[in-house]
Symmetry: C2
Subunit: 129 residues, 2 copies
């Protein structure tokens, strides 16, 4: 379901966070779904249990999951999106998109290739079929 690279420059916690957020966004982890215990996921990924625990805490702080001692962690049912984050998120995403496209162009990719990549990513997050 999820993998991490220890040799990546992206921190382990960030990789895990990204993976779980994607899974929640796409519906692969629907509301109410239970996440694996920190220890198990930690062993599966080959990282320290604290690393996973910190990710779970971030997810809880942002309201995506609900977690409690002794009872596990599961995806929140009804999420409220805080409107305050909107503008900030918009700017961040704009920068991210620009960086992605700059990377692509400087790596020698054609625009059409990037569009295909984008389409596939959209299918992952907003599955139509």
């Amino acid at each position: 379901m999820l993998t991490v690279r220890l040799d990546s420059e992206e921190p382990l916690a960030d990789q895990i966070l990204r993976g779980i957020r994607s899974a929640i966004a796409s519906g692969e982890l629907p509301p109410g779904a239970e996440l694996p215990p920190v220890r198990q996921l930690a062993v599966d990924l080959g990282v320290n249990l604290n690393t996973v625990a910190r990710v779970y805490r971030v997810l809880q702080t942002s309201g995506l999951v609900h977690t409690a001692r002794g009872r596990g962690t599961r995806v929140t049912n009804n999420r409220e999106v805080p409107a305050t984050d909107r503008n900030e998120a918009l700017e961040r995403m704009t920068q991210q998109a620009e960086a992605l496209l700059a990377d692509a162009k400087l790596a020698g990719m054609r625009r059409a290739q990037v569009e295909r990549l984008w389409e596939r990513a959209c299918q992952t997050i907003w599955p139509t079929a």
Copy 2:
């Protein structure tokens, strides 16, 4: 031309690097164009000159600019794209795109909004007009 946020969680050097890479990719900094001296850019951005110097070094290592003591830094004329980086770059971009879209969806954005944002970013990097 370029700004940084000291309160951002993104490191200063990364912000600067991102900005310059975008400028080169879009053609705003065409081949042969001279970059500002490290000291001047450092003052303009309000960061240490080392931070800028490190960014220039990264750019030089990746072949985007040519820099020499006492003579300044300018954008490389004829770039060769190392083919070895292609696959790695592709995977990184796919992950980046997925993360961006997951962020967008979890922030409550509609797909159409994200598409508009994407279109605008494309216009920045691949200006058609």
